[in-house]
């Protein structure tokens, strides 16, 4: 019975493991971010299922309904979803820039010789201020 009582939870665990695996094992950055999304969604489901009461209904006050599901997890997860999409956007923007800078977004192909002098063609300043400001 304990196993069945937690069926929601097993779904969460499986989704979480798939997502997490994608984050770590995938070489492609976009896929990594997708994995991250999956990973986060599984947590959302965990929260929401914690708020469910069997026989309850959506927490909007209506006539004739006495049992409502817990509204608090819903609020938290609304926030978390927005956080998720924000992270996705920043991550994808970074991926785009990495693609432009390196020509690839496969982790395996991204090699920077660790002790090379800095890459000079970046839009930033290539060299020091020298004596010009002295």
């Amino acid at each position: 019975m304990a196993w069945l009582g937690h069926f929601n939870y097993w779904v969460v665990v499986i989704l979480m493991m798939i997502g997490f695996y994608a984050v770590i094992a995938r070489g492609n950055m976009v896929k990594k971010i997708m994995g991250l999304n999956l990973f986060q969604t599984s947590v959302f489901i965990m929260f929401i299922s914690a708020g469910k009461i069997i026989g309850g209904s959506t927490p909007v006050l209506r006539e004739g309904i006495t049992v409502y599901s817990n509204p608090l997890p819903h609020v938290l997860i609304l926030t978390a979803i927005v956080v998720g999409v924000a992270t996705t956007a920043v991550g994808l923007a970074l991926a785009v820039r990495i693609l432009e800078a390196y020509g690839t977004i496969e982790e395996d192909e991204l090699v920077d010789p660790p002790d090379q002098p800095a890459d000079e063609s970046h839009p930033g300043m290539p060299a020091g201020k020298g004596d010009t400001a002295a």
């Binding site: 990973f39 997890p73 990495i98 002098p117 930033g124 400001a133």
Partner: protein, 491 residues
């Protein structure tokens, strides 16, 4: 008016300033706004600090009493950390203005807005008394940090930022899972309420797993070995201003949150009993101390060297905490405070050198000590503090750490602390030798000393290293008050 009513504004002022800053054109305006925001925060916290040493203050948002609403609950522990964060921001910004004009010449409005968000996020994490609110502000500061690191002028900054984003988000999600378990077991998110209700359900697997998830998640954020992989590159390739700010604050705030969970919410008797925390944290701390110092000894890029040294220094802090005694906790907190001072000064000195030379590789800096004597002297002085030479802040924290280790009946730790200090001598002295006793490379054009507008802020931070090595009332008193606050009523 009661100072407690003003404390939340140390978070809100920079937060509100951020969008305004983003809309501002030019360079001076955004910088000034950022500086004023940080200064306001600092003043509020500094004025409130004496009150906090006496006891805690609570500020319920929207006037909803906790745990219905969200409160800021501020005591000596987060007061000290908030003071540190605000002070670092305030004192680094005057230095950063010229540096940023050079490294981030365009769109400074957005840049400073992101900085203000990162700053406000850290302050929010520190002051809040609600577990979920920690997650929200953690994400504000993290997201802005990713964007800020990507402003680095080397393309590797992008990669570093992306990897940090992945690891940071995984960490934050772990924390969220932990908070979720806690909520499912207790029905509350308020920290004080959690601490009250947890003992009833403490012997459940879910609470134990919650502790594990939160520690791993925060361990990622605070670069606890072996979860530190994001840190060296992120620090090395971020704009120098951001490196200084992050090195001095970000990992410290994450560590504080971990302490808050371990000591206040779970209660230290539970935390160290439910999981083999002493053994695990001690092992990781020691491994971090050695691995960090060891790798630092062979770095050519000095920013990376200091970053690895940060991994080692986080090890010191965690070491003190892992002892699970009040002396150890105070020592860890003290080192948290002092390390911010020394790493801040070291990275500022390096940033100043970078501004002139355009490189922080050790080969490029040979002979720089004669060309920029004041800057490199500041580096050497801060380096002494990192090593732990007497009269510096670093000595005081190592002293307390060693005393705490001895009191805890673990005198063998003393040897480890000493050995890693010797490693610090090696990697700091390598720089000193290159700077003063090696002839300059011919390929490098000679440079001149940095202007006073850079040197004065730098020396203020260096002076702080010595001030807190000589007059330890604030730092030691604060750390001890913070330790008391974290340990709460328990002896």
């Amino acid at each position: 008016m009661n100072i407690g009513e003003w404390l939340p504004f140390s978070v809100l002022v920079p937060l509100i300033a951020a969008p305004v800053c983003a809309l501002m054109p030019g360079r001076t305006g955004p910088w000034l706004l950022a500086f004023l925001g940080a200064l306001t925060s600092l003043l509020i916290v500094a004025i409130a600090l004496p009150v906090l040493w006496q006891g805690e203050l609570s500020y319920p948002f929207g006037n909803w009493p906790p745990p219905i609403g969200i409160e800021y609950r501020i005591d000596a522990a987060n007061g000290l950390v908030a003071l540190l964060v605000a002070a670092v921001a305030t004192f680094v910004l005057p230095w950063a203005r010229i540096i940023n004009n050079f490294e981030v010449p365009e769109r400074q409005g957005i840049f400073y807005a992101l900085f203000l968000l990162a700053f406000a996020g850290l302050m929010g994490i520190t002051l809040t008394g609600d577990a979920f609110n920690v997650f929200v502000f953690l994400e504000i500061s993290s997201l802005s940090t990713y964007a800020l690191i990507a402003h680095g002028w080397d393309r590797r900054a992008l990669l570093a930022s992306f990897r940090y984003l992945i690891m940071g988000t995984v960490g934050a999600t772990f924390v969220l899972i932990g908070i979720g378990f806690l909520y499912m077991m207790t029905g509350t998110l308020n920290m004080a309420d959690l601490a009250e209700r947890l003992p009833e359900v403490r012997d459940t697997t879910a609470v134990r797993a919650a502790l594990a998830f939160i520690i791993v998640g925060l361990g990622l954020k605070l670069a606890l070995f072996p979860l530190h992989l994001w840190l060296p590159n992120a620090y090395a390739y971020a704009p120098n201003f951001i490196t200084v700010f992050l090195a001095a604050t970000a990992t410290k705030v994450a560590l504080y949150v971990m302490l808050r969970f371990i000591f206040t919410i779970f209660g230290h008797d539970y935390s160290f009993f439910a999981l083999p925390l002493t053994a695990v944290l001690l092992a990781l701390a020691i491994a971090g101390m050695f691995a960090g110092s060891w790798v630092a000894m062979f770095q050519h890029n000095l920013k990376r060297m200091l970053a690895y040294s940060s991994v080692a220094q986080v090890g010191y802090m965690v070491l003190g905490i892992a002892l699970a005694t009040s002396a150890g906790l105070a020592a860890g907190l003290l080192h948290l405070f002092n390390h911010a001072l020394m790493k801040g000064a070291l990275f500022m000195a390096l940033g100043t050198v970078f501004w002139r030379v355009g490189s922080v590789r050790i080969d490029d800096l040979s002979g720089i000590g004669r060309e920029m004597p004041w800057t490199m002297t500041a580096f050497a002085l801060a380096g002494l503090s990192l090593i732990g030479v007497p009269l510096t802040a670093g000595f005081v924290s190592k002293w307390y750490l060693i005393i705490a280790a001895m009191e805890a009946g673990q005198p063998w730790l003393v040897a480890l602390i000493v050995i890693t200090s010797l490693m610090a001598i090696y990697y700091i002295w390598r720089v000193v030798e290159a700077a003063w006793f090696t002839p300059a490379r011919e390929a490098r054009t000679p440079v001149s000393e940095a202007p006073l507008s850079l040197l004065v802020p730098l020396y203020v931070v260096v002076a702080a290293n010595f001030w807190f090595g000589i007059d330890t009332r604030l730092s030691v008193g604060g750390a001890e008050a913070a330790a008391r606050a974290l340990l709460g009523g328990s002896p």
